[in-house]
Symmetry: C3
Subunit: 137 residues, 3 copies
Amino acid sequence: MRFSIKTNGFNDIIDITDRVSKAVKESKVKDGICLISCPGSTCGITTIEYESGLIEDLKKALEIVAPMNENYEHCKKWGDCNGFSHVRSALLKPFLAVPIEDGELVLGAWQNLVFLDFDNRPRNREIIVKVIKSSSD
Amino acid sequence: MRFSIKTNGFNDIIDITDRVSKAVKESKVKDGICLISCPGSTCGITTIEYESGLIEDLKKALEIVAPMNENYEHCKKWGDCNGFSHVRSALLKPFLAVPIEDGELVLGAWQNLVFLDFDNRPRNREIIVKVIKSSSD
Amino acid sequence: MRFSIKTNGFNDIIDITDRVSKAVKESKVKDGICLISCPGSTCGITTIEYESGLIEDLKKALEIVAPMNENYEHCKKWGDCNGFSHVRSALLKPFLAVPIEDGELVLGAWQNLVFLDFDNRPRNREIIVKVIKSSSD
Protein backbone atom coordinates (compact mmCIF):
# COMPACT_ATOMS: atom_id res chain seq x y z
CA MET A 1 0.00 0.00 0.00
CA ARG A 2 1.13 3.54 -0.61
CA PHE A 3 -0.17 7.08 -0.56
CA SER A 4 1.12 10.43 -1.84
CA ILE A 5 1.68 13.68 0.00
CA LYS A 6 2.63 17.16 -1.13
CA THR A 7 5.17 18.95 1.03
CA ASN A 8 6.64 22.46 1.20
CA GLY A 9 10.18 21.14 1.76
CA PHE A 10 12.46 23.08 4.18
CA ASN A 11 11.71 20.72 7.10
CA ASP A 12 7.99 20.60 6.53
CA ILE A 13 6.71 18.15 9.18
CA ILE A 14 3.46 16.42 8.24
CA ASP A 15 1.21 14.27 10.44
CA ILE A 16 0.62 10.97 8.56
CA THR A 17 -0.95 9.00 11.45
CA ASP A 18 -4.47 8.84 9.98
CA ARG A 19 -3.36 7.76 6.50
CA VAL A 20 -1.10 5.03 7.87
CA SER A 21 -3.82 3.84 10.29
CA LYS A 22 -6.26 3.59 7.39
CA ALA A 23 -3.79 1.45 5.41
CA VAL A 24 -3.33 -0.84 8.43
CA LYS A 25 -7.10 -1.28 8.77
CA GLU A 26 -7.43 -2.06 5.06
CA SER A 27 -4.76 -4.78 5.38
CA LYS A 28 -7.04 -6.61 7.87
CA VAL A 29 -3.93 -7.71 9.78
CA LYS A 30 -4.80 -7.90 13.48
CA ASP A 31 -1.37 -8.52 14.99
CA GLY A 32 2.03 -7.78 13.47
CA ILE A 33 4.22 -4.91 12.39
CA CYS A 34 3.88 -2.02 9.99
CA LEU A 35 6.93 -0.60 8.19
CA ILE A 36 6.45 3.00 7.03
CA SER A 37 9.06 4.35 4.61
CA CYS A 38 9.73 6.80 1.81
CA PRO A 39 12.13 6.16 -1.08
CA GLY A 40 14.15 9.37 -0.88
CA SER A 41 17.48 10.64 0.44
CA THR A 42 16.26 13.98 1.83
CA CYS A 43 13.46 12.95 4.19
CA GLY A 44 12.77 11.26 7.52
CA ILE A 45 10.02 9.46 9.44
CA THR A 46 9.57 9.44 13.23
CA THR A 47 7.00 10.01 15.99
CA ILE A 48 6.33 13.18 17.99
CA GLU A 49 3.43 14.88 19.74
CA TYR A 50 2.09 16.94 16.83
CA GLU A 51 1.88 20.36 18.42
CA SER A 52 3.26 23.55 16.82
CA GLY A 53 5.60 24.31 19.75
CA LEU A 54 7.32 20.93 19.57
CA ILE A 55 7.49 21.07 15.78
CA GLU A 56 9.59 24.25 16.17
CA ASP A 57 11.65 22.67 18.96
CA LEU A 58 12.50 19.65 16.78
CA LYS A 59 13.57 21.93 13.90
CA LYS A 60 15.84 23.82 16.29
CA ALA A 61 17.56 20.59 17.38
CA LEU A 62 18.13 19.56 13.74
CA GLU A 63 19.63 23.00 13.10
CA ILE A 64 22.30 22.27 15.74
CA VAL A 65 23.47 19.03 14.07
CA ALA A 66 23.02 19.95 10.39
CA PRO A 67 22.44 23.69 9.96
CA MET A 68 20.58 24.97 6.89
CA ASN A 69 23.41 26.77 5.18
CA GLU A 70 25.61 26.25 2.10
CA ASN A 71 28.72 25.20 4.01
CA TYR A 72 28.56 21.59 2.78
CA GLU A 73 30.94 19.67 0.50
CA HIS A 74 27.86 18.47 -1.42
CA CYS A 75 27.12 22.12 -2.32
CA LYS A 76 30.73 22.98 -3.12
CA LYS A 77 31.17 19.92 -5.35
CA TRP A 78 27.88 19.80 -7.22
CA GLY A 79 26.28 23.21 -6.69
CA ASP A 80 23.45 21.24 -5.13
CA CYS A 81 22.95 23.13 -1.90
CA ASN A 82 20.73 20.74 0.00
CA GLY A 83 23.60 19.10 1.89
CA PHE A 84 21.75 19.66 5.19
CA SER A 85 18.73 17.79 3.75
CA HIS A 86 20.81 14.69 2.99
CA VAL A 87 22.63 14.74 6.32
CA ARG A 88 19.40 15.15 8.32
CA SER A 89 17.90 12.24 6.39
CA ALA A 90 20.90 9.97 7.04
CA LEU A 91 20.62 10.75 10.77
CA LEU A 92 16.85 10.47 11.16
CA LYS A 93 16.20 7.78 8.47
CA PRO A 94 13.00 7.59 6.37
CA PHE A 95 12.05 4.17 7.82
CA LEU A 96 10.00 3.30 10.90
CA ALA A 97 8.57 -0.02 12.12
CA VAL A 98 5.56 0.18 14.48
CA PRO A 99 3.71 -2.73 16.13
CA ILE A 100 0.08 -3.61 15.30
CA GLU A 101 -2.34 -5.07 17.89
CA ASP A 102 -6.11 -5.54 17.59
CA GLY A 103 -5.82 -4.23 14.03
CA GLU A 104 -4.43 -0.85 15.19
CA LEU A 105 -1.00 0.81 15.35
CA VAL A 106 0.29 0.71 18.93
CA LEU A 107 1.16 4.35 19.66
CA GLY A 108 0.92 6.52 22.77
CA ALA A 109 -1.98 8.91 23.24
CA TRP A 110 0.19 11.90 22.22
CA GLN A 111 2.41 10.08 19.74
CA ASN A 112 1.87 10.98 16.08
CA LEU A 113 3.57 9.49 13.03
CA VAL A 114 5.29 12.28 11.10
CA PHE A 115 6.96 12.62 7.74
CA LEU A 116 9.76 15.23 7.56
CA ASP A 117 10.72 16.73 4.23
CA PHE A 118 14.22 18.15 4.56
CA ASP A 119 14.64 19.05 0.89
CA ASN A 120 15.12 22.71 -0.16
CA ARG A 121 12.03 22.79 -2.40
CA PRO A 122 8.42 21.55 -2.42
CA ARG A 123 8.12 17.84 -3.24
CA ASN A 124 5.57 15.16 -4.02
CA ARG A 125 6.39 12.11 -1.89
CA GLU A 126 5.23 8.52 -1.97
CA ILE A 127 4.82 6.89 1.45
CA ILE A 128 5.05 3.08 1.48
CA VAL A 129 3.17 1.12 4.14
CA LYS A 130 4.15 -2.53 4.42
CA VAL A 131 2.19 -4.75 6.81
CA ILE A 132 3.50 -8.08 8.13
CA LYS A 133 1.51 -10.57 10.23
CA SER A 134 3.04 -11.79 13.47
CA SER A 135 3.38 -15.48 14.23
CA SER A 136 0.38 -15.31 16.55
CA ASP A 137 -2.08 -13.52 14.20
CA MET B 1 4.07 -9.90 24.61
CA ARG B 2 4.77 -7.00 26.89
CA PHE B 3 6.39 -6.19 30.19
CA SER B 4 6.40 -3.17 32.53
CA ILE B 5 9.28 -1.18 33.91
CA LYS B 6 9.52 1.60 36.45
CA THR B 7 11.88 4.44 35.57
CA ASN B 8 13.24 7.53 37.32
CA GLY B 9 12.76 9.72 34.22
CA PHE B 10 15.42 12.38 33.50
CA ASN B 11 17.23 10.18 30.96
CA ASP B 12 17.15 7.05 33.06
CA ILE B 13 18.74 4.39 30.84
CA ILE B 14 17.62 0.83 31.65
CA ASP B 15 19.07 -2.45 30.37
CA ILE B 16 16.13 -4.50 29.00
CA THR B 17 18.17 -7.19 27.19
CA ASP B 18 17.23 -10.06 29.53
CA ARG B 19 13.51 -9.31 29.55
CA VAL B 20 13.36 -9.03 25.75
CA SER B 21 15.43 -12.22 25.34
CA LYS B 22 13.01 -14.08 27.61
CA ALA B 23 10.04 -12.93 25.50
CA VAL B 24 11.82 -14.11 22.34
CA LYS B 25 12.44 -17.54 23.87
CA GLU B 26 8.81 -17.81 24.97
CA SER B 27 7.66 -17.08 21.41
CA LYS B 28 9.47 -20.25 20.25
CA VAL B 29 10.37 -18.44 16.99
CA LYS B 30 13.77 -19.70 15.82
CA ASP B 31 14.45 -17.32 12.93
CA GLY B 32 12.92 -13.92 12.30
CA ILE B 33 12.79 -10.42 13.70
CA CYS B 34 11.81 -8.88 17.01
CA LEU B 35 10.35 -5.36 17.18
CA ILE B 36 10.79 -3.71 20.57
CA SER B 37 8.81 -0.52 21.17
CA CYS B 38 7.15 1.66 23.76
CA PRO B 39 3.95 3.67 23.18
CA GLY B 40 5.15 7.05 24.41
CA SER B 41 6.41 10.36 23.06
CA THR B 42 9.16 10.98 25.63
CA CYS B 43 11.27 7.81 25.40
CA GLY B 44 13.71 5.94 23.17
CA ILE B 45 15.09 2.46 22.50
CA THR B 46 18.56 1.63 21.20
CA THR B 47 21.64 -0.52 21.89
CA ILE B 48 24.81 0.39 23.78
CA GLU B 49 27.46 -1.33 25.89
CA TYR B 50 25.81 -1.01 29.30
CA GLU B 51 28.64 0.48 31.33
CA SER B 52 28.26 3.51 33.62
CA GLY B 53 30.93 5.54 31.76
CA LEU B 54 29.19 5.19 28.39
CA ILE B 55 25.78 5.85 29.94
CA GLU B 56 27.12 9.26 31.04
CA ASP B 57 28.75 9.82 27.64
CA LEU B 58 25.47 9.16 25.82
CA LYS B 59 23.62 11.61 28.10
CA LYS B 60 26.26 14.25 27.34
CA ALA B 61 25.73 13.84 23.58
CA LEU B 62 21.94 14.17 23.97
CA GLU B 63 22.54 17.34 26.00
CA ILE B 64 24.28 18.89 22.96
CA VAL B 65 21.32 18.33 20.62
CA ALA B 66 18.42 18.85 23.03
CA PRO B 67 19.59 20.42 26.30
CA MET B 68 17.56 19.89 29.48
CA ASN B 69 16.35 23.43 30.00
CA GLU B 70 13.07 25.34 29.70
CA ASN B 71 13.96 27.16 26.50
CA TYR B 72 11.43 25.23 24.39
CA GLU B 73 8.29 26.44 22.61
CA HIS B 74 6.46 23.45 24.15
CA CYS B 75 7.21 24.89 27.60
CA LYS B 76 6.34 28.49 26.67
CA LYS B 77 3.05 27.46 25.04
CA TRP B 78 1.74 24.84 27.47
CA GLY B 79 3.79 25.28 30.65
CA ASP B 80 4.79 21.66 30.07
CA CYS B 81 8.55 21.90 30.42
CA ASN B 82 9.61 18.53 29.04
CA GLY B 83 10.32 19.85 25.52
CA PHE B 84 13.76 18.23 25.59
CA SER B 85 12.10 14.85 26.40
CA HIS B 86 9.90 15.03 23.28
CA VAL B 87 12.70 16.21 20.99
CA ARG B 88 15.11 13.48 22.20
CA SER B 89 12.38 10.88 21.62
CA ALA B 90 11.68 12.11 18.07
CA LEU B 91 15.41 11.87 17.29
CA LEU B 92 16.14 8.51 18.92
CA LYS B 93 12.72 6.85 18.36
CA PRO B 94 11.15 4.31 20.76
CA PHE B 95 11.24 1.52 18.15
CA LEU B 96 13.96 -1.03 17.34
CA ALA B 97 13.92 -4.14 15.13
CA VAL B 98 16.54 -6.82 15.93
CA PRO B 99 17.12 -10.12 14.08
CA ILE B 100 16.49 -13.53 15.70
CA GLU B 101 18.58 -16.63 14.84
CA ASP B 102 18.61 -20.01 16.63
CA GLY B 103 15.88 -18.66 18.89
CA GLU B 104 18.07 -15.82 20.19
CA LEU B 105 18.45 -12.07 19.55
CA VAL B 106 21.48 -11.45 17.33
CA LEU B 107 23.48 -8.85 19.29
CA GLY B 108 27.20 -8.25 19.76
CA ALA B 109 28.96 -9.45 22.91
CA TRP B 110 28.95 -5.92 24.38
CA GLN B 111 25.68 -4.76 22.86
CA ASN B 112 22.78 -4.30 25.28
CA LEU B 113 19.21 -3.32 24.51
CA VAL B 114 18.33 -0.18 26.45
CA PHE B 115 15.21 1.81 27.18
CA LEU B 116 15.72 5.55 27.70
CA ASP B 117 13.16 7.53 29.67
CA PHE B 118 13.57 11.18 28.73
CA ASP B 119 10.55 12.45 30.68
CA ASN B 120 10.98 14.90 33.55
CA ARG B 121 9.39 12.64 36.17
CA PRO B 122 9.36 8.94 37.18
CA ARG B 123 7.17 6.81 34.90
CA ASN B 124 5.73 3.33 34.57
CA ARG B 125 6.33 2.14 31.02
CA GLU B 126 4.98 -0.74 28.97
CA ILE B 127 7.50 -2.34 26.57
CA ILE B 128 5.98 -4.19 23.62
CA VAL B 129 7.85 -7.13 22.08
CA LYS B 130 6.51 -8.29 18.73
CA VAL B 131 8.06 -11.40 17.15
CA ILE B 132 7.77 -12.23 13.44
CA LYS B 133 8.93 -15.47 11.80
CA SER B 134 11.19 -15.22 8.77
CA SER B 135 10.36 -17.00 5.55
CA SER B 136 12.93 -19.68 6.35
CA ASP B 137 11.84 -20.52 9.93
CA MET C 1 21.90 -14.61 5.16
CA ARG C 2 25.04 -12.74 6.02
CA PHE C 3 28.15 -11.32 4.41
CA SER C 4 31.47 -9.98 5.70
CA ILE C 5 33.15 -6.65 5.10
CA LYS C 6 36.53 -5.25 6.01
CA THR C 7 36.54 -1.66 7.24
CA ASN C 8 39.19 0.93 8.11
CA GLY C 9 37.32 2.05 11.24
CA PHE C 10 37.37 5.79 12.10
CA ASN C 11 33.95 6.43 10.52
CA ASP C 12 34.62 4.44 7.38
CA ILE C 13 31.34 4.59 5.44
CA ILE C 14 30.81 1.66 3.06
CA ASP C 15 28.15 1.25 0.38
CA ILE C 16 26.46 -2.14 0.98
CA THR C 17 23.49 -1.66 -1.39
CA ASP C 18 24.60 -4.26 -3.97
CA ARG C 19 25.39 -6.98 -1.44
CA VAL C 20 22.08 -6.52 0.39
CA SER C 21 20.16 -6.44 -2.92
CA LYS C 22 21.81 -9.72 -3.95
CA ALA C 23 20.75 -11.36 -0.67
CA VAL C 24 17.17 -10.13 -1.20
CA LYS C 25 17.11 -11.64 -4.72
CA GLU C 26 18.47 -14.94 -3.42
CA SER C 27 15.68 -15.09 -0.83
CA LYS C 28 13.12 -15.12 -3.69
CA VAL C 29 10.77 -13.06 -1.50
CA LYS C 30 8.75 -10.73 -3.76
CA ASP C 31 7.00 -8.58 -1.19
CA GLY C 32 7.98 -7.96 2.41
CA ILE C 33 10.65 -6.35 4.53
CA CYS C 34 14.40 -6.72 4.86
CA LEU C 35 16.15 -6.08 8.18
CA ILE C 36 19.83 -5.21 7.81
CA SER C 37 21.90 -5.25 10.98
CA CYS C 38 25.35 -5.76 12.45
CA PRO C 39 26.04 -7.30 15.89
CA GLY C 40 28.35 -4.62 17.26
CA SER C 41 28.28 -1.64 19.61
CA THR C 42 30.49 0.71 17.56
CA CYS C 43 28.74 0.80 14.17
CA GLY C 44 25.66 2.10 12.39
CA ILE C 45 23.48 1.45 9.33
CA THR C 46 21.52 4.08 7.39
CA THR C 47 20.87 5.42 3.88
CA ILE C 48 22.55 8.34 2.11
CA GLU C 49 23.42 9.39 -1.43
CA TYR C 50 26.86 7.78 -1.70
CA GLU C 51 28.92 10.72 -2.90
CA SER C 52 32.26 11.78 -1.38
CA GLY C 53 31.02 15.30 -0.54
CA LEU C 54 28.05 14.06 1.49
CA ILE C 55 30.17 11.38 3.16
CA GLU C 56 32.35 14.20 4.55
CA ASP C 57 29.28 16.26 5.47
CA LEU C 58 27.80 13.36 7.46
CA LYS C 59 31.09 12.86 9.34
CA LYS C 60 31.10 16.57 10.20
CA ALA C 61 27.60 16.34 11.69
CA LEU C 62 28.58 13.31 13.81
CA GLU C 63 31.59 15.27 15.04
CA ILE C 64 29.24 17.91 16.47
CA VAL C 65 27.28 15.41 18.58
CA ALA C 66 30.05 12.98 19.55
CA PRO C 67 33.49 14.43 18.76
CA MET C 68 36.44 12.07 18.17
CA ASN C 69 38.47 12.91 21.24
CA GLU C 70 39.38 11.20 24.52
CA ASN C 71 37.07 13.30 26.69
CA TYR C 72 34.73 10.40 27.46
CA GLU C 73 34.02 8.62 30.76
CA HIS C 74 34.45 5.32 28.89
CA CYS C 75 38.07 6.31 28.17
CA LYS C 76 38.75 7.63 31.68
CA LYS C 77 37.33 4.50 33.33
CA TRP C 78 38.66 1.75 31.08
CA GLY C 79 41.44 3.33 29.04
CA ASP C 80 39.34 2.27 26.05
CA CYS C 81 39.27 5.52 24.09
CA ASN C 82 36.53 4.76 21.57
CA GLY C 83 33.79 6.44 23.59
CA PHE C 84 32.74 8.43 20.51
CA SER C 85 32.34 5.16 18.57
CA HIS C 86 29.88 3.76 21.13
CA VAL C 87 27.91 7.00 21.43
CA ARG C 88 27.60 7.41 17.65
CA SER C 89 26.40 3.80 17.40
CA ALA C 90 23.76 4.28 20.11
CA LEU C 91 22.47 7.36 18.27
CA LEU C 92 22.52 5.99 14.70
CA LYS C 93 21.78 2.30 15.53
CA PRO C 94 23.17 -0.63 13.49
CA PHE C 95 19.66 -1.76 12.43
CA LEU C 96 17.56 -0.75 9.42
CA ALA C 97 14.32 -2.21 8.00
CA VAL C 98 13.63 -1.54 4.31
CA PRO C 99 10.56 -2.62 2.28
CA ILE C 100 10.75 -5.16 -0.58
CA GLU C 101 8.47 -4.96 -3.64
CA ASP C 102 8.73 -6.96 -6.88
CA GLY C 103 11.68 -8.78 -5.34
CA GLU C 104 13.71 -5.56 -4.92
CA LEU C 105 14.57 -3.18 -2.08
CA VAL C 106 12.41 -0.05 -2.33
CA LEU C 107 14.95 2.80 -2.26
CA GLY C 108 15.14 6.17 -3.99
CA ALA C 109 17.31 6.65 -7.09
CA TRP C 110 20.04 8.35 -5.04
CA GLN C 111 19.53 6.42 -1.83
CA ASN C 112 22.30 3.96 -0.93
CA LEU C 113 22.45 1.59 2.02
CA VAL C 114 25.57 2.31 4.04
CA PHE C 115 27.44 0.67 6.88
CA LEU C 116 29.35 3.06 9.19
CA ASP C 117 32.25 1.74 11.23
CA PHE C 118 32.80 4.15 14.12
CA ASP C 119 35.47 2.08 15.88
CA ASN C 120 39.00 3.44 16.32
CA ARG C 121 40.68 0.58 14.41
CA PRO C 122 40.13 -1.52 11.29
CA ARG C 123 37.50 -4.24 11.76
CA ASN C 124 35.99 -7.28 10.06
CA ARG C 125 32.22 -7.01 10.31
CA GLU C 126 29.41 -9.45 9.71
CA ILE C 127 26.26 -7.94 8.15
CA ILE C 128 23.03 -9.86 8.76
CA VAL C 129 20.23 -9.67 6.21
CA LYS C 130 16.89 -11.04 7.41
CA VAL C 131 14.03 -11.22 4.92
CA ILE C 132 10.37 -11.50 5.95
CA LYS C 133 7.43 -12.06 3.59
CA SER C 134 4.50 -9.70 3.78
CA SER C 135 0.96 -10.97 4.22
CA SER C 136 0.27 -10.37 0.54
CA ASP C 137 3.33 -12.14 -0.95
